[in-house]
């Protein structure tokens, strides 16, 4: 086994994992706080990329600079979705029915994306992103490294918000004991809406970063939802650190199996890791940030 190649593979996995982490954190938060598996997550991500594309075309806004705007737009969409449909489903039916609701929402939102932007593949690339760095024999891909960096910054911001801000405390408290949080004066419905909004916002932001690295089309949503799923199950539910850990594991499993077993195998390995983790530790390595283990 070649040392540089191994190191290169590890670095590639790390960089890939950073993007998975950011793309999954919103999914993780909704799952942790509301107990809802949001099947519209992938569409949120793509919507972020498409809104970034529109902003770039219409206003000439650089994709990175568009992140705050995209975050806000997606937060409003996500919050509205929770207010109207998801809460209705949870009240009338069960948590399980929320899966069907978010699936239905994903079909609608995806068709809206196609109507607005067409089925074509698009790209948010900036040519400056295509730069390459050589560090001691290891090649680092500038675009992806930027993605990793942006992911880390955004994840850190979320972690700080959840732990140091009053509203973050309220989100955590609601996730753990919504009844007791209500007794403390927290309006849990508002927290749920806020959580959905923030999560959608993060999904949108990750969409920008994904769009800067890879071309995208409206039909990629299932891929990203599934990846978020795996990331959360590997890392842990509800916390940015869990998402980071899960994303990095996913990235490493993906690149290592691809390099040393064969480039067509990563999916098999990823899903086997997922199943294994579910059986051994259903809440992921870090467990559920809010509740005791299943």
């Amino acid at each position: 086994m070649n040392g540089t190649l191994l190191f290169q593979t590890l670095v590639d996995g790390l960089i890939l994992g950073g993007i998975f982490s950011l793309s999954a954190v919103g999914f993780s938060l909704i799952f942790g706080v509301l107990g809802v598996v949001n099947l519209a997550h992938g569409v949120f991500i793509l919507a972020g990329a498409y809104i970034g594309l529109w902003l770039k075309g219409a206003l000439g806004l650089d994709p990175l600079a568009a992140i705050p705007v995209v975050f806000l737009v997606l937060a409003v969409i996500g919050g509205a979705l929770q207010r109207t449909l998801v809460s209705a489903a949870v009240q009338r039916g069960s948590l399980m029915t929320s899966l069907l609701i978010t699936f239905g929402a994903s079909l609608i939102l995806r068709d809206l994306l196609i109507l607005a932007f067409g089925p074509d593949i698009q790209s948010l690339s900036s040519t400056w992103l295509l730069r390459t760095y050589h560090v001691g024999g290891v090649v680092i891909d500038g675009a992806r490294a930027t993605g990793l960096l942006a992911s880390l910054v955004l994840l850190a911001m979320l972690a700080i918000a959840l732990h140091a801000m009053k509203v973050g405390r309220a989100i955590r408290a609601t996730a753990q004991q919504s009844f007791a949080a209500g007794l403390c004066g927290v309006d849990s419905n508002r927290i749920y809406t806020l959580t959905f909004g923030v999560s959608a916002g993060f999904a949108g932001a990750s969409g920008i970063i994904i769009g800067m690295i890879n071309p995208f089309s409206p039909f990629d949503d299932a891929y990203w939802t599934l990846n978020a799923f795996v990331t959360v199950v590997l890392g842990g539910v509800g916390s940015p650190v869990g998402a980071l850990l899960g994303g990095l594991m996913l990235g490493e499993i993906s690149t290592l199996s691809s390099q040393y077993i064969g480039p067509r195998f990563p999916n098999v390995f990823i899903f086997c890791a997922l199943l294994l983790m579910l059986i051994v530790r259903p809440n992921g390595l870090l467990g559920n940030a809010y509740k005791a283990s299943v």
């Binding site: 489903a89 399980m96 609701i101 699936f103 098999v268 199943l275 579910l278 299943v294």
Partner: protein
């Protein structure tokens, strides 16, 4: 809950007999397109009934039943290629079905032991992952031909067109599924499963062998779904991973069940009929918007009728009876 031990009322028997007679006559009166729709209603409605054997009683909602569907189709299809080409197709189908049943049995037992210990949403996710693994395996290893696909032999029976023939095969499976489901629901296992659905820990404390009941229901459900896959594969004549390992098949089974009314026999069938007709007839000619409308219908149904159409009907019935008897 009078369903467990009471006799099935004569009215239900009568209705069933009429429906069955109609079902047998139907393919000789409908156009091939209409028979194809009926085929799908029988196949997917019947599989939704099979899905209910576990998911209808308990919160163990499998989001990966397409795993067994695809397993059946691939097992029978790949076996048919290995068998002596001089064998008649009917024999190949029969051997393939037996093989698929065996394989589904083994797979279900193997996966059930770890997965049935997971509760609620985690079970759902684990099943989804299981389906993805099987799908990826068929695509990744060339021996399974999942990526490029492979043909299945064409089954012909003199006197029947291909659509009619598969209609009757699907009908047969459909009736089997219903019979097994009704038997299960009326048996001790059904009662146990219902208790598990209410509160699994309490059920276990009451001495209900929860593990065994869940396993029986899961395996039955898996095997019957695999047979559906075998027949579907033969009816298409050519399959690939993309035709049988489809997440939307898993989701549709749940959707049909929810739509019609979970826990009932008629519910999944009504749900399947409604959705298949809606998506393929009413919205069939739309090029752009049918996915969006499907999503909208799905959301509307879940919010407006959380207990499904059967739930609504029952409520309306109760209300009318209540009014007739002068109760509020």
């Amino acid at each position: 809950m009078d369903a467990f031990n009471g006799r099935i009322p004569a009215g239900i028997w009568g209705l069933s007999a009429v429906l069955l007679a109609a079902a047998v006559m139907l393919p000789f009166m409908l156009s091939p397109f209409q028979i194809r729709l009926a085929q799908q209603i029988l196949l997917f409605g019947g599989m939704a009934v099979a899905w209910q054997m576990l998911g209808g009683f308990t919160n163990y909602w499998s989001f990966g039943h397409t795993a067994f569907f695809g397993l059946g189709a691939f097992a029978a299809g790949l076996l048919a290629q290995q068998l002596d080409p001089s064998l008649s197709v009917a024999v190949k189908l029969a051997i393939g079905t037996v093989f698929a049943i065996g394989l589904a049995l083994v797979a279900a037992l193997a996966i059930a032991i770890p997965v049935l210990n997971l509760r609620g949403i985690y079970f759902a996710i684990a099943m989804l992952a299981f389906a993805e693994i099987l799908a990826e395996i068929t695509k990744t290893f060339d021996a399974f031909h999942g990526t490029s696909g492979f043909p299945l032999p064409a089954l012909l029976v003199p006197g029947l067109t291909k659509v009619q023939l598969f209609y009757f095969l699907f009908l047969l499976l459909f009736l089997t599924n219903i019979a097994v489901f009704v038997w299960l629901r009326r048996s001790r296992i059904g009662m146990g499963l219902t208790c598990i659905g209410q509160d699994e820990d309490t059920a276990a404390m009451l001495g209900i062998p929860t593990e065994r009941y869940k396993l029986v229901a899961f395996v039955l459900s898996a095997v019957l779904t695999a047979i559906g896959g075998v027949l579907y594969g033969y009816s298409l004549g050519f399959i690939s991973t993309g035709s049988v390992f489809r997440i939307d098949i898993s989701l549709n089974l749940i959707l049909y069940t929810m739509l019609g009314g979970i826990g009932t026999v008629a519910g999944p069938i009504i749900g399947a009929a409604l959705m298949i007709v809606l998506t393929q007839v009413v919205l069939g000619n739309l090029l752009d918007l049918h996915m969006m409308l499907t999503g909208a219908v799905l959301i509307a149904m879940v919010i407006l009728a959380p207990k499904g159409l059967m739930g609504l009907a029952r409520k309306a019935w109760d209300r009318r009876r209540g009014a007739a008897e002068g109760r509020p």
